[in-house]
Amino acid sequence: MITLDTALRRRTAVRAAGLGAGVLVLALLLSLSLAVGTRGIPLGSVWTALLNPGDGSRESIIVWQLRMPRTLLGIVVGAALAIAGVVMQAVSRNPLAEPGILGVNAGAALSVVLAISVLGVSDAGDYVWFALGGAVLATALVYGLGVRTAGPGDGAQSRVRLVLAGAALTACFGAVTGTVTMFDTNTFDSYRFWVVGSLANRDTAVLGHVLPFIVAGALVALALGPRLNALALGEDVGISLGVRPGRVRLGGLVAITLLGGAATAAAGPISFVGLLVPHALRLVLGHDVRWLLAYSVVAGPILVLAADIAGRVVARPGELEVGIVTAFAGAPVLLWLVTRRAGRSA
């Protein structure tokens, strides 16, 4: 018993150290994100500019007004998407679940398009509320279609169902979005830039708008961690441990919607982050949802910032939107996961 206890304690220490290392990597990426761009700024000058916010120098303006808001937004959005991915995969016990590929984005997109076209909303900062509302509606629908119709213990079926429910709703919403943008050139022109998902040129106020939702969603998710763990052992075991599956699922749904919806509202649809991060973490950490949640707070921002920086470097002097970069990094990983899983179960 003593050796087991020591081993456990040692593992916990290693994991805590790993988390610390992640924070260091994130700090490094943060400074890189402030330094890299069309106009590169040496790290030393970044530091000087950080210490002198209002001195009017060009470096200070670039760092504080352009790159700092976008970097912070990247961190918040990355964390939100990654946490949402962990919760969604745990709730649905579906390793393919992700807010982005499940129709949430299509719901947000439809809502944004209607806001621009019907209500004449022109300020990108105001898209936030509509995107959030559309995401809420879409999540509820996909969940209702994909999870509740599957029988108990029907793991493989519910996996596929959820993905397909997302595909079905994406098609429906997409058709309506298409009809609206078809007849409204101005709406189409705004929409085509929103839909690729970007951290650039977002109003600083956006961050303030979405932050409360993301914090609330993250708190719900962290609170659910232990119960999600119990539920992962199976519905019956979970109930015998005093967990009410229905309530946990509902809580998870609330967290996913707040996190995924707010992230999409702030940056547009960024897919694959919520899929990729939990998967990569599970390979290292195993299935303990509490550790997965803790790590995803750091790993999500690392991925999003890295993708954003890569997008700025690859297409110089222009840049690739972060949503494009994550799709290109994410799809091959999804493919690998699909073929790997099938190879094992065959």
């Binding site: 393919l96 709703l169 058709a175 298409g178 007849f183 085509r192 690729v196 799709a327 190879g343 065959a346």
Partner: protein, 345 residues
């Protein structure tokens, strides 16, 4: 599923299933009737007699313009594209042994769209000039289909969901490429590309229709005889092999014919969504068998697209919406219904 063997002169034995023959016949009548209605009505109405007159060289100049140049090519295109997609859908669904293994779900049509967008926006021919876009769509679709099939057959037969899941992943990636290409084009080009992306039969003319007709005429005779071995294949490889089906060869042929049919359809009309998924699904209960017969699916597809395009022309008059939006909305709702009622196996 009673089968009657009819011996033709020359000793050729033709297997005819009366029910299938009746179903196919009725569907064909529906398809032609809907097309006929679309040709005769609209903002400029014609009597059937006048319309028939134009075919044999009669009618006023206006009649001839509307019937022969405007409405007929569009109606014929709807039938051809619908038939091609329906037939391709049944082949793909049989090979993947999955009712959801249709070309649009597995990312194939998204790939066609990427190819067409690249030729339209990057190589930059005059928008609407059919050939470049069609060739781009064909290449994009072929490359995507090849990639999806190759990736999903890595590590052997990995279950029947594999193809679908790989296709969804590839489709998601390509969709993001398409979005990106749209942001990099100027607004006019992006709008042209977008209306093509939805799948549209608006402004179609004979030079686009004729190649599709030729393609269908060549490919259908290859597709129809594959129906029987594919049905046996759906019951399992061992079973099929025992009955003398050369499984690998049948699968390979079905995929090739399916890809070419889809490519031909997409080159004409753009990626019309969900038709390839729905047509075989609707054909099955009509035949009262699990067999997704290529021919029945083709005729069902033709009837469906003719009806959907009629809706696309008339629903929001005077605006004509791309038919792909109609099939997308209907198809998404249909897929959702399949899931809700648990009929997707």
């Amino acid at each position: 599923m009673t089968t009657r063997a009819v011996t033709l002169p020359g000793g050729i034995v033709l297997r005819v299933r009366p029910r299938a023959a009746v179903v196919i016949g009725l569907l064909a009548v529906v398809a032609v009737a809907v097309s006929g209605y679309a040709v005769l009505t609209g903002s400029y109405r014609l009597s059937p007699g006048d319309a028939l007159g134009t075919f044999v060289g009669g009618g006023t100049a206006t009649d001839r313009f509307f019937v022969l140049q405007q409405r007929l090519p569009r109606a014929v295109a709807a039938l051809l594209v619908g038939a091609g997609l329906g037939c391709a859908g049944s082949l793909f669904q049989s090979v993947s042994r999955n009712p959801l293994g249709s070309p649009d779900v597995i990312g194939f049509t998204t790939g066609s769209a990427t190819g067409a967008l690249l030729s339209l926006l990057v190589l930059g021919p005059a928008p609407g000039s059919g050939t470049g876009v069609g060739v781009g769509a064909l290449i994009g679709g072929l490359v995507t289909a090849g990639a999806v099939y190759a990736i999903s057959s890595v590590r052997g037969a990995g279950g029947r969901q594999q193809l679908v899941l790989v296709g969804i992943a590839v489709g998601a990636m390509l969709a993001s490429v398409n979005d990106y290409l749209l942001t990099r084009a100027d607004l006019d080009a992006a709008e042209t590309a977008k209306s093509w992306l939805f799948g549209s039969l608006n402004a179609i003319s004979w030079p686009q229709v004729v190649p599709a007709g030729v393609a269908l005429a060549v490919l259908l005779p290859f597709a129809v005889p594959l129906g029987r071995p594919l049905r046996l294949l759906e019951m399992g490889d061992d079973f099929a092999t025992a009955l003398g089906v050369r499984t690998a060869r049948v699968r390979w042929q079905a995929l090739l014919v399916g890809v070419l049919l889809t490519g031909a359809a997409v080159a004409v009309a753009g990626p019309v969504g969900f038709l390839a998924l729905a047509a075989p699904q609707l054909a099955r209960p009509l035949l009262r068998s699990s067999e997704a017969a290529p021919l029945t699916s083709a005729v069902t597809g033709a009837a469906l697209l003719a009806a959907a395009d009629l809706g696309a022309q008339r629903l929001l008059t005077p605006f004509q919406i791309p038919v792909g939006l109609v099939t997308g909305a209907l198809g998404g709702a249909y897929l959702a219904w399949l899931l809700a009622t648990g009929r997707s196996r």
